[in-house]
Symmetry: C2
Subunit: 300 residues, 2 copies
């Protein structure tokens, strides 16, 4: 069993750290907000005052932070992980950040002997708690093999994608489809509603054919009950789509559909709905069409 | 067993008509191109010289034609189904056309005592042959009950949606999601490719999470082998999306994502690729990013 640091104990990070502890590892945590730190300490973790201090005590150190600058600061900034470098230390980032930032951090940490993996996840807080996350990994294949037992404590579908940053590219591709299906589902529901047709019957009719998707399987029943609680916050979806569009630009790639998805999620944030589930992007389409999706039909 | 007319024996219509015959009905066919008519006559059908003549000999008359004007002409035009009106005749349209055209035809035919159902299908030529189509039905509920045994000979997931035109609305909603998922999948693949990451590994990683969709389950393995044969032709996808966008406008509905999907399929037609499968919309994204999606990895 290893000494494992975890920095960033949010909606995703806290249950992921807990699963590492449950797998028998010694957990050292650090977080801006202290309430969750105290909770995990009660459950058997220890805490450290800085990312540097976490790194010094750990064989593996994980981060799970909102955006690229946060991960850059915690790794390369003052009192950062870099300053806690020691032989054999492996850094694993579970955040969703820019692939180019992931590569930069990996290069900088390698200079002080720290091996890095970018290992963004998909599956939401439910998957994080259940330990069933999808994990997409970039970095050195040997480092991946060494870290795999830890990743298996947190996820189920774990795929090695390629060199540093490749995990983040896979996550970006994932978000292209997740956002596209959410918006397409929302447009389908609004079209049905405005045409005077029961949107629930439409969902029943189309959900087993070529329109089948995770979004259509999981979200309409919640939307019809106006249950818009996250799941996966729209503000995070908007942030991830900004990463996708920026990354596409870096690689001279044009993504017209994703550009629209991105703008619709930005609109959702602008409307003050960024705290809702990403499926609540239907509220943007409803606003554009001056309607509200509703039904008396119970979905089977 | 009934006398059943079928007009429009294309990629979809011919196998659907065949399934009606297999179910024991007497089939009377009519088609512009004669080769398929002769084939079905050899198999036991009879043929008639006009839609009017088909209607005169039938209890039920089906159409399966490319676009709204075709169905309008065959029903309401000279020697059309209207002129073959007789007591108890039911008209069922399996084409994908404008909901407002479906409603207009139903109204006009009702004046001469013909009941109508709009019953567009989804599931492609494979579903048509296997009799496993999804069928979305609009019209009078009693007429639907009367026609249901015939629909069950052609499809598996049959849903009554609502009054005349409601089946076409459901099909429009279906196409919003089918097109959205195809384009999103294509953008994800092109992003991976241009970022220097193996698109097949990305597909493996993301296909079991929130990005899961029929398009991602069924199309990448074909695209990687450059198997772009239809399935469902891109030119028909473009035509269907024009119907969606026109219908949305009729009902004061804004569909920004679908507008982009529509334009990308129109681009595909403009590029001379309208005869390929709708998943080959990846060729448009490839052109926009000056790349070709490829892999040496075999998808599991």
């Amino acid at each position: 069993m290893a000494n494992v640091g975890y920095i960033g104990l949010g909606l995703m990070g806290a249950p992921m750290a807990r699963n590492l502890m449950k797998a028998g590892h010694k957990l050292i945590v650090h977080n801006r907000s202290q309430a969750i730190v105290e909770e995990l300490v009660k459950e058997g973790a220890s805490s450290a005052d800085s990312p540097k201090a976490v790194a010094e005590q750990s064989d593996f150190v994980f981060t799970n932070l909102p955006d690229s600058p946060d991960v850059e600061k915690v790794t390369l900034g003052a009192d950062g992980i870099r300053e806690g470098a020691h032989e054999g230390l492996i850094f694993i980032d579970n955040s969703t950040i820019k692939p180019e930032t992931a590569r930069l951090i990996a290069e900088e940490l390698e200079k002080v002997g720290i091996q890095s993996l970018d290992a963004p996840v998909s599956g939401g807080d439910i998957g994080a708690k259940a330990g069933t996350l999808t994990i997409m990994v970039g970095g050195n294949p040997t480092t991946y093999e060494t870290a795999l037992p830890l990743l298996q404590a947190m996820g189920k579908n774990i795929t090695y994608i390629g060199e540093s940053g490749a995990g983040q590219i896979a996550k970006a591709a994932n978000q292209v489809i997740v956002a596209g299906t959410m918006v397409a589902m929302a447009e389908a529901l609004v079209l049905a509603q405005k045409s005077g047709v029961d949107p629930a019957r439409v969902v029943e009719a189309i959900s087993r054919g070529a329109a089948q998707c995770w979004a259509l399987d999981n979200k309409p029943q919640k939307l019809f009950k106006r249950d818009l609680a996250p799941g996966f916050k729209a503000s995070m979806q908007a942030k991830d789509l900004k990463i996708v569009v920026d990354t596409a630009r870096t690689f001279n790639t044009s993504l017209p559909l994703t550009a629209v998805s991105h703008q619709l999620f930005e609109a959702m944030v602008a409307m003050g709905n960024g705290h809702l589930d990403n499926s609540a992007v239907v509220t943007v389409l409803e606003a554009l069409a001056n309607t509200t999706v509703q039904t008396d039909t119970e979905l089977s």
